[in-house]
Structure formats: C-alpha cells, structure tokens
C-alpha cells in the first residue's frame, strides 16, 4: 500500500515537476538554492500527499504546497551564494544569444519580478500560471477584491522598476 502510494506520488510529481521548478525559479537565485527549495517542496508535498483527495487537481494542490513552502516554511540554507543572475545562466540561454528587443525586455522583466517581495511574487506566479482571482484569493487567504487591488499595485510597481 505504502509502496503504491510512493510510486503514484513520484510518478505524478515527475510529470508535474515544472510547477515546482517555476516556484524555485521565482524564489531562488542560484542553482544550489533552487535544488534545496525543490527538495523541501518535494518533502512537503510527499508529507501532505496521503491527505490529497482527487477532488482538486494535483497541479492546483501543488501550487498551494509549493508556494506555502517557498513563502513560509523554507529556511534558506547557509551554503547559499547570493548571485543575482545565476539562474539566468542556468535556466535561460544567456542574453548574448539574443539581439532582438523582446528577449531583452523579457530579461529585464524577469529581473524586475525578482525584486518584488515574497507575497508579490506569489501573486505574480499565480497570475502567470493563468489562475483567476478567485483561485489567487483562495491560495493566499485574502479576499478576491484585495487580490485584484494588490495585483494592480504589483503591475504598477513592476512598471516603476522597469522605467525608473
């Protein structure tokens, strides 16, 4: 029974692992920290998995556990090196390979998102994942109206960071 549970879980996570990678990308800046957070989210998902009921989608359930781990539970480990652009090298092809303005703009955008605080990043994450305001409000524990207001403020903040 337990083996079966393990097997199902690992298979599901293997399939949906990009969600976890995306959370890690927003909240960490280097390869080690990325792996560290990925590890912690995996443990939290696994610990919570026996209570996972099929009535919510596995991916939706993952958003919640992933973000909660990143925002609240994760303790940054000491060995972490704080190099801002490291993950650009790791996970994105470096900027020199692009000349066109859209790629430049994207790079700037990703850097701008990195400058947001933890809660703002969570909102952006859910927004980028195409979640509606009801889902955003349910995940964060704030009202739908406040989620909408905050999202607008985040957009303004991003604009200010991009065009100081």
């Amino acid at each position: 029974m337990n083996k079966e549970l393990e097997h199902n879980f690992v298979e599901l996570l293997e399939k949906h692992q990009n969600i976890v990678h995306k959370v890690c990308r927003l909240y960490t800046y280097d390869y080690d920290a990325h792996n560290d957070l990925f590890q912690e989210i995996t443990i939290q998902l696994w610990k919570a998995y026996p209570k996972f009921r099929g009535d919510s989608k596995f991916s939706t359930w993952m958003y919640r556990v992933g973000l909660n781990t990143a925002i609240t539970l994760y303790r940054k480990s000491k060995r972490r090196v704080n190099t801002q652009d490291f993950s650009d090298v790791q996970f994105k092809i470096s900027a020199e390979e692009y000349d066109d303005t859209e790629e430049q703009q994207l790079k700037l955008l990703y850097n701008a998102v990195r400058q947001l605080n933890d809660i703002e990043k969570a909102l952006v994450f859910l927004y980028l994942e195409d979640k509606n305001y009801r889902e955003i409000s349910e995940t964060m524990g704030i009202s739908e109206v406040n989620a909408r207001v905050k999202m607008n403020r985040v957009k303004t903040k991003l604009r200010t960071i991009l065009n100081p």
Binding site: V10, K22, E40, I43, I71, R75, V113, I119, Y127
Partner: protein
C-alpha cells in the same frame, strides 16, 4: 501591451528550460528529511519544555531544597510545585493541539497564523514560568528571612550592629540582579533564535495583513 502579458506568454511556453529530474531522483528526495522552520520551531519548543522541567526537577532535589523542609513551609511550597505541573501539562496540551493544526495545504495566511499561534503558546509558557520563578524567589526570600536559623542569626547580628537596612538591601538587590540577568539571557535567546527563524514569516504575514486594511 501589458508587461505581465509578455511575461506570461514566455512563462507558459518555456517548459523545457528546466532540468528534468528523473523518477529515481525524485524518489530519493522523498526519503530525505525536511528542514522547514516548522520542524525547527518544534525542536526548539520541545527543548524549552524540557529545559524548564529539568530546572524545576533539579531545584527540587538540590540540598538547598532539603534545607527548605526544615522551615515547615510545605503548605506554601507544595501548591507551588503542583501549580508547576499543571502549567506544564496545560501548555504541552495547547502546544500539541496547535502544532497539529499546522497544515501546508491551508491557504498562505492561515498557515502563517497557525505557525505563529504555536510559537506564541511556547512564548506564554516561558513567560508564565518566568513569572512563577519571580514569585517563588520573593516567597523563598520571605520564608528564609522568617524561618532560616542561620539567616535569622545574621539578621540579629546585623540589627545589633545597626546594619539591618544594609543587609536587607544587599540581599534584595542581589536577588533582583540575578533575576534580571536570567531574564536578560532569556530575552537575548528569544531575540536571536526567533528573530532569525521567524523574520521572514513575520514580514510576509504583515504584508498579507496589510492587504486587508
């Protein structure tokens, strides 16, 4: 076009730029131990419970306490000891109940609230213990002044020399200093451990609360 829309388009298409972990790699991960702050809070809280229990047991067996029997002060001290056990039992119960409600599948705000609540239980426990300690220090001092023969003879000598006030002042000041030092150490401990551990959580919780105003 909205900046976030540009980002969204890219975000949703670039699924292949992440390292792809294999089944076995993920399997190995679920066997590892968590290092989340909840686990740390749990460990530190249990240590605090143990520490205070050890302190009270150690005091109970100390020679110092044996001397206490000679004072015939059981009627004061026994209720105090029972009170100590009741306090430990009550707070341990509260702590475990709160701890059990912490669930990573709650929404972000509820999760933070539950962690802070668990933390607060232990904080109250320590505060109550400090309170009990201060009250018992005063009580002990009072009993000793009245019933300890050694001290009574010192008091009599001091009073014969006209230094009674000095004697009381010195004793009380020393007691206060020891208590203050103890509280100072506790506060420093709290400031360091929880300041570091909960800094981020508190910040994020405030940020979420701010949205409600």
């Amino acid at each position: 076009m909205d900046e976030l829309e540009i980002l969204k388009k890219d975000w949703q298409k670039e699924d292949n730029t992440f390292p792809k972990l294999t089944y076995n790699e993920i399997y190995k991960m679920i066997l590892k131990k968590s290092s989340s702050i909840v686990k740390w809070i749990f460990i530190i809280s249990i240590l605090e419970f143990v520490l205070w229990a050890v302190i009270s047991f150690a005091l109970k067996d100390a020679d110092y306490n044996q001397r206490f029997k000679e004072y015939n002060a059981e009627n004061i001290m026994i209720p105090f000891i029972i009170l100590g056990y009741v306090i430990i039992a009550y707070f341990l119960y509260r702590f475990f109940m709160n701890y059990r409600t912490i669930s990573v599948t709650d929404n972000a705000k509820v999760l933070m609230e539950n962690i802070l609540k668990t933390r607060r239980t232990v904080k109250y426990y320590v505060a109550v213990n400090l309170g009990v300690m201060i009250v018992s220090a005063i009580l002990v001092l009072g009993i000793q002044f009245n019933r300890d023969e050694q001290i009574i003879s010192v008091i009599e000598k001091a009073s014969a020399n006209g230094e009674l006030f000095k004697f009381y002042a010195v004793t009380i000041i020393i007691t206060l200093l020891v208590l203050a030092a103890l509280i100072g150490v506790m506060l420093l401990f709290y400031y360091l451990i929880y300041g570091i551990l909960l800094k981020r959580l508190n910040k994020n919780y405030r940020e979420l609360k701010k949205l409600e105003v």
